[in-house]
Symmetry: C2
Subunit: 294 residues, 2 copies
């Protein structure tokens, strides 16, 4: 069921993935003035991923792409995947706990497709960023989910304002309730209870997004993805030449420790991915290249 919609969704995620990769490589390569140097010429390395199965059944998969050690991007990963099959007991347990799906059958058939991006930048003045959008389908229900959040180690109220304004504009185009609701959800979702703070300056987060109008819900999800590229690259272009020293780098490494704490302890996508036996390198792609704890 919904076969055409599923194809459109997974094609869109591939397209968005390719656009993000092109844009990030262009930003990175624009950094190098030295034509004879390899520095600044790093590229995304791609690897197919497969959801492991005991009997070699086709459970779907995707591609992970990582660019490392650039002038701008210290580590940036873009994962896409389209997976399907029966939901494992563990997955059903997680989903009935966290979703409004108390009556999920045991071992129901599901389909899910999504994109996930995490960028850790070399300069401490460039925030880390996370973006994810996805569609989930079972025989009982379908929905979209996703979010974008900005994680500077050195906060700049002007960046935060512009970033939120871009998200608000995208949301408002679809429904004026989306931005306040989904901003509040992000503030709650990205909160780190043991540190009594959020991991960054927020953004939007949404899940179980189903207004009843699939076409418009898909369109909203696409627009969130489209907003991500300029909202982030504007900050990069504006701040990429700021000079930083060991004090700023120290702040960044400690902030990355906090980011790793959040992802390993609280992030639902990470928990779900690890609990359902996905490729750990793909699930943990979000972890920072270097982190520090005092």
């Amino acid at each position: 069921m919904m076969e055409i919609e599923k194809k459109r969704v997974s094609s869109w995620f591939w397209q968005l993935r390719n656009e993000i990769i092109s844009k990030f490589e262009a930003l990175e390569h624009g950094e190098s003035d030295d034509k004879h140097s390899n520095v600044g010429k790093v590229k995304f390395e791609k690897r197919k991923t497969h959801r492991p199965s005991r009997d070699n059944a086709d459970l779907g998969g995707g591609e992970m792409a990582i660019m490392r050690d650039g002038h701008l991007f210290e580590k940036v990963g873009v994962n896409i995947s389209t997976v399907y099959g029966e939901l494992s007991e563990t997955a059903v347990k997680v989903m009935t706990e966290t979703k409004r799906l108390p009556n999920l059958k045991s071992n129901p058939y599901f389909w899910a497709s999504g994109i996930s991006v995490v960028a850790h930048m070399k300069s401490p003045f460039l925030p880390a960023i996370h973006m994810n959008t996805r569609m989930f389908w079972t025989e009982d229900a379908w929905w979209f989910g996703g979010g974008i959040d900005l994680n500077p180690c050195i906060e700049d109220p002007e960046d935060t304002k512009k970033f939120h304004a871009a998200l608000k504009e995208t949301c408002d185009f679809h429904d004026s309730k989306f931005y306040p609701d989904y901003k509040m959800w992000a503030d709650k979702y990205f909160y780190i209870p043991h540190r009594k703070r959020t991991r960054g300056v927020g953004g939007i987060f949404f899940d179980e997004h189903n207004t009843g109008d699939w076409e418009n819900d898909f369109s909203f999800t696409q627009d969130v993805g489209r907003t991500f590229i300029p909202a982030f690259s504007d900050i990069i272009i504006q701040k990429k030449n700021l000079k930083w020293g060991p004090n700023e780098k120290e702040k960044q490494l400690l902030h990355r420790g906090l980011y790793a704490e959040y992802n390993l302890i609280y992030d639902r996508g990470t928990k779900f991915g690890l609990a359902t036996g996905h490729d750990p390198d793909a699930v943990l792609m979000s972890l920072p290249p270097h982190a520090k704890w005092l």
Copy 2:
């Protein structure tokens, strides 16, 4: 109840803490040949910890001690605490799930005292190590728990053999069943499912240790603590002068990433500590000073 026993236990943990600190500082200071240099003269910094309460009630506390940036010890933390009060709902939930205490009353009175040590060494040839021993008491039950495990990034079968032999000798002195049982428990406890490997080369792990003979169980717990110092310092003394380069350091940083994954995702002590609102810096003292993810 058991007031004298509780006092003996918490005094022992203070004593063991002081012995560990003295020995580690002596090892560290023995490293410096330059009398005019401050390098190698780092010391443990101590800070009192308190279990936070809403109404300033005395819920106990302890002391955390950390020595950083030494010649040998890049970061080593030794925490001790003696805490008491009513078990929170979250704690009861965790404990009824993981302990054989299905009938734990809601909000029972408890008392717990323990020591926890984690050392991350500067040289990649020196393994990280973890040791913890504790006594837990409620009106229904008391038990000891603890463990030691060795976490080299460059494994040396000879070290592993000697380390396990020392643990076996200590266990066998009390009961020949302890070592095989508690070694197996460590292999299971320190397993990282998503990486399909253990975090190190094992050791022993035990919990709910109650043979019915408190005196002997306390004595066993003390002996585990006593074994820790020579078992670890023998390795340090033997390997501290081995030269290492960037390849070995890279292995160490990646192995520390794995260590952080384990502690943040699976370690029960960490989960329990964070869920019950303990000082996050004390709970997360175990995290490596620097870690890396590819």
